[in-house]
Symmetry: C2
Subunit: 397 residues, 2 copies
């Protein structure tokens, strides 16, 4: 009698929307493809692709460029490229800095400003600084661009529907309506999500996870371990947007108490600060830390790396058994851990999960560098246009 879910019927205009979106996303992801490749990969008719690309060009979402010199028989096909007009701002508030960026379609990071902070910012600090930086950037990118909004990568749990930061432990933010406040301060739509979730999206679309339908991503930062899941080609969010918290899965049932209140979380055992402390360095960046770890003549460092690798393997065993991914992407210092002892982690990942699932999986390091969060965050702002390109109005904002 009662109809449980209420999925939607489709009409002709939905087809159009879907096909426009498809073409735009293909160009976005590939950063430029010949029109002929679009006909092949979509299965749509040449004339249809022409009409779709035509509409997208008219809306300035795409531009067409001279064909590649491709040494192929037949009439050359013009290149469809992401248009320069639509841009998004990205922001990543952290404990020691706020980073803001300008990103175009095709994940082109046009500008990036790191604003160092003397102390961990309160929400209003973060909003004020971000709004200032963005105001400045709007001046630079005012003409010829249309701003789609601001994507925010937050080191914490973010409620998907309204961008409220439920908990960002290291920033000491609890239930802060960051998105709403930044929206009020800038007049731009703000979309916020967990940083590692956005890293996952970025790696999935543009990085080490391109074309992989089932992957998990784990990122090790100074403040803990986050992650994200792509399953069946779709980003997994969970009901409120908190999915992917691999950092708080159990790896030591008799371990230490985590700041989350539970015992033996991955991020209490696998920690960047322990590695940094062993190197004797202070204030290292990722590359320096990795170089120090790879130096390789220190038994105590190697022991700690192996210890942490073992714990990481426990978390991965759970994740592989639950999610059966084909790829595990490691970012941040987890990538460095893997770089030091790949054979160890590979062996554990191959042997600890159920054999059938273990066979299918391979571990790789993340492919995107410092711009990963900018790209992922911008993706949030691009999402609505990528889903419905005809909603894009040139003049707006």
């Amino acid at each position: 009698m009662s109809i449980p879910t209420a999925p939607d019927g489709r009409g002709n205009s939905d087809v159009r929307r879907h096909n426009l979106s498809l073409v735009l996303r293909l160009v976005h992801q590939s950063r430029g493809v010949p029109r002929s490749a679009l006909t092949r990969s979509t299965g749509l008719n040449r004339s249809t692709i022409a009409a779709l690309v035509g509409e997208l060009v008219e809306r300035e979402l795409l531009v067409e460029a001279e064909p590649d010199a491709s040494n192929q028989v037949g009439r050359p096909s013009p290149l469809a490229l992401p248009g320069p007009r639509p841009i998004a701002f990205a922001v990543n508030p952290e404990i020691d800095a706020i980073t803001v960026g300008v990103v175009g379609l095709g994940a082109t990071v046009l500008r990036r400003i790191r604003h160092p902070l003397a102390q961990s910012p309160s929400v209003s600090d973060a909003v004020i600084v971000t709004a200032q930086l963005i105001d400045q950037l709007r001046g630079e990118f005012g003409d010829g661009h249309t701003v789609l909004g601001i994507g925010a990568a937050i080191p914490g749990l973010v409620r998907a529907k309204d961008g409220v930061v439920r908990l960002a432990p290291h920033l000491h933010w609890i239930d802060e309506p960051f998105a709403a406040e930044l929206e009020a301060a800038t007049g731009l739509p703000v979309f916020a999500a967990n940083d590692a979730n956005l890293g996952t999206r970025a790696e999935s679309i543009f990085g080490a996870g391109r074309g992989v339908a089932d992957l998990i991503y784990l990122n090790g930062g100074a403040s803990g371990i986050g992650g994200g899941i792509i399953s069946g080609g779709r980003a997994l969010t969970g009901v409120e947007g908190y999915a992917g918290e691999f950092g708080h899965t159990v790896v030591a049932t008799a371990g230490a108490v985590c700041h989350c209140g539970a015992v033996g979380c991955l991020e209490t055992e696998v920690r960047r600060d322990r590695l940094v402390a062993l190197t004797g360095l202070t204030d290292v960046d990722s590359d320096e830390l990795e170089a120090a770890l790879l130096a390789g003549d220190r038994v105590d460092i190697r022991t700690e790396v192996l210890r942490q690798t073992d714990f990481l393997a426990v978390a991965l065993r759970n994740a592989v058994n639950i999610l059966n991914p084909s790829t595990i992407i490691l970012g941040g210092f987890l990538g460095s851990l893997y770089a030091v002892a790949p054979e160890q982690l590979d062996a554990l990942v191959a042997s600890q999960p159920l054999a059938a699932s273990a066979e299918a999986v391979s571990v790789v390091r993340s492919a995107l560098g410092v711009n990963r969060l900018m790209i992922g965050a911008a993706e949030l702002a691009f999402a609505s246009v990528l889903e419905d390109p005809s909603s894009f109005v040139i003049g707006e904002t």
Copy 2:
């Protein structure tokens, strides 16, 4: 340049397929709805719904019945009901019996035969017995029905693409092409999947998970603990179909070695046989076990129940942190555990995961009874018709 994933463009006929599928699925899930409700929940025009229902009736996938006496103003709307023609067989080979069923649209289990076995069946045993039972049932259901195929619920890991049983530990099956052999023996298409995964689908569509987009299901059986995930409204399979093995997530890092080779798996600590042993009973069924556990005057039983509940909570903590579901469905003896000490599990599930995720989640018992696996398995055979109703040809098979 290279296009990573190759999603498909849509044409007009895809709209038709989608809408036919949508209407059929709504009727299937709800086991009968007024046509007017279909217009409302799909958002499609009355005339469109009329055409869609008309085509489905013509194909004998639906039938229309006299309107309900509904005491509502306006012209009564005829009831769209699942048609009796399409049926699927379901099979569930187990260590002590093979169960075969006949299932119609709307999850109506028309017939169910449990064939007891003296000993755990080999694959060829299972194929022979199943083929015999299905042959018999084909006689009974020959006229007026069209058989869509056989769905198999396997207590083990099943490769999705070809139905090879990679590992069914309790049956001692390893890399057995069960689906292919049963196909050869019966001449019917066979679709096989993990039993708990099919239980998840059944509960999601027809049971305790109706209308819930993000849920996890854990089932406790005599042979171990299985599970499944629905995320964003979609069943999560992983790359090969092995997703959902919550039974092999770590709950005791210094625990016993599991038959899977790893240490401290959920299913080594949370075991039906320990509970059965404490009751002193032999050969109990689920209801008897639950009654014995609920009797409540035995301290040793309660202690063991609480011990197992604590371990179950650890697994759920991981699952909630990773997947952020809104509902946890417990089936089999896990449901009985919950029945004995609901306050204990509720408290742990509310306190152990990250607070934001814990808030959103509630624990419930499974709603479907002994027919759960029959319904889930049949769903596999129905899948292709539910996705593309116009592929259904009345005469076939």
